[in-house]
Point group: C2
Chain length 347, copies 2
DNA sequence: TTGTAAGCGTTATCAG
DNA sequence: CTGATAACGCTTACAA
């Protein structure tokens, strides 16, 4: 009776069960599942057959425990509301998987939750942490570094000693945007984005402004419209600010993210009845899914999520192998995606 | 020397370290971290102080191993490209967390990967599986059920014995759409979506058609435009099909998902130069982020992701406690979100 | 309330 | 190549 109950619920077969069925020792089973272990083909097939019949799989946690390692990597991101960060997730999971790691997703939306997430990740003995742009404060990151847990950051300032950083080439992106806007014949420029507090925003802004310096036909200074977030709503608000001014309105606008650009364009079109790109040319940054929709067809600077993810996992793994290796900063190339909002290239 | 190296890399403090520092036994440490264990306040604070100093956290995997349970739940979803499924993720993670579970995200995009994901999840000794609508085939689900691993499905047919299902009220949603389109004065109706192969699509379609039966002013049958996916592209293609026909074009269209609706609307507006809602009224289903953007302002049937997630976790946990409990089907209410694409309510 | 000892499912070590 | 034995970090009888 008791045995039957056990059979019923203990659905997990153990190495011992397999060993018994195959008529070998537990060690033999272990070896059969260890690539490159010294075991004869005969016993291996014997074990594998028994394992198949019992539906046995090695218990990764038990294996990790004895090997003193972990197969978890914390991915702390500041919200699934941001399409770009979501887009980064799949390739990140992919490359982590290639190294035998499993991502543990941590939503860092509230500040409370964020402290709790640290505890959880520690409880799971994570092998490393990946922090994507946005909310997670630096203090949190240094908590990990202090515990000698490898940290890799994506699209953030390299402010933390001992943590690697992988960034898109914001500088090149900002210059591309400027160049493209110049080609379209714009003469009055504006930047919209979080260029004060946000690292990426600042870099994109600086490069944009810099590339516009000394342009002969330019009218007035480049208007800098700072936003508090990188959201659609921020883009709408920026349009209100920029188009309600008494001076001439800009005709070439670079938005720090696609979501901002979308909000800006929608406000320009539906609230101010102006046309994009005819009246105002707009360039975004990220190349999220929305950018390709027919209602927008946003010209934008595309981040290469695949490469971003690959390098991030790579630096993280390198630091796992040697925690005291010097911190790296890797820059991933961006590319310009031509659609409609930047207007035609004029003589 | 050897000791120093150990100190350097073995950054994880163990219960033994804490015990030593606090001057108590390992069991005392364990008890201090077990809610409701019999331990004196004095020793507990002693332990906690030592733990604090060493940055100790209980190793959840070791704990789970000895307690014969797992804190992982597999969430197998058919791709982060679908905004609705992404929207479901955060609340799912939230409610799982409330029960002490951690989601393991499995991307089920290719068929190859999907078989591999089964292995991985088994290796982690998951306590249960949540399958969201879409790709993951039923055969995979039954693999889990056969191993007596609890399975909960979201927005899928209740075809699998021993697996619980949580659905949005597609029936009510389809009727809402019909009613709203009738109110807007439409007389020629069409449904666009995967109503043949897809469970949700079929249910929404049936309810829509049914609610339109016997409508006096109706012109012709409800046109059923089947799509192969629930994507933006499918919506665009559907518009090509529907608007290129020689018969009169529909003026009241219900799309099975918001992404389809977006594609349909964009094609109608930009390829056929017709107006939404003036020429064609459109209603969607899901209420994804895009639906609220000013360029669309899509009127749609909103799914309640919060409740969907809550119930899903609830049925899963119930089945964990008693695997042989009869399978449940729970239906979560939907609500209509009024925006612009359904047009004004006419006489 | 406490400490001691056994055991969870693995793999590493060391004989044979 | 194979099998016994110890160990990983933890919880939980059991005894004190």
């Amino acid at each position: 009776m008791n045995d039957k109950e056990k059979d019923k619920d203990k659905s997990w077969a153990t190495a011992e069960d397999v060993a018994k069925l195959a008529g070998v020792s537990r060690s033999a089973v272990s070896r059969a599942f260890t690539p490159g272990a010294s075991i004869s083909g005969k016993t291996k097939t014997l074990v594998m057959q028994a394992a198949e019949r019992l539906g046995y799989q090695v218990d990764i946690n038990a294996r990790n425990m004895i090997q003193g390692r972990s197969s978890f990597v914390g991915v702390v991101t500041s919200g699934l509301a941001n399409p770009f960060r979501v887009k980064l997730l799949a390739p990140l999971a992919h490359y982590l998987g290639e190294h035998g790691f499993l991502p543990i997703l941590m939503n860092a939306d509230d500040a409370d939750q964020i402290a709790h997430s640290l505890q959880i990740l520690l409880s799971y003995r994570i092998a490393g942490v990946i922090m994507t742009s946005g909310a997670p404060p630096l203090a949190l990151a240094s908590e990990y570094v202090n515990r000698r847990i490898p940290v890799a950051m994506v699209n953030r300032a390299a402010e933390l000693d001992g943590a690697d950083v992988v960034n898109s080439d914001n500088d090149a992106g900002g210059r591309m945007a400027a160049q493209r806007l110049i080609q379209s014949g714009a003469t009055r420029f504006a930047f919209v984005g979080p260029h004060i507090s946000n690292f990426s925003g600042k870099a994109r802004c600086d490069a944009f402004v810099d590339a516009l310096k000394g342009l002969p036909r330019r009218k007035g200074d480049v208007e800098l419209c700072n936003t508090s977030t990188d959201s659609y709503e921020s883009g709408q608000q920026a349009a209100n600010t920029l188009l309600n001014r008494s001076r001439g309105i800009p005709d070439g606008v670079f938005c720090a993210t696609d979501m901002i650009a979308l909000g800006f364009i929608d406000a320009v079109r539906h609230r101010f009845q102006k046309r994009v790109p005819e009246d105002i040319r707009v360039v975004g940054f990220d190349d999220i899914q929305h950018a390709g929709l027919d209602s927008y067809r946003l010209s934008t600077v595309a981040q290469n999520v695949q490469e971003l993810a690959r390098h991030t996992v790579q630096v993280l793994v390198e630091r796992m192998n040697d925690f005291d290796t010097p911190a790296q900063v890797r820059v991933v190339p961006v590319s310009f995606v031509e659609r409609d909002t930047a207007g035609p290239i004029s003589g």
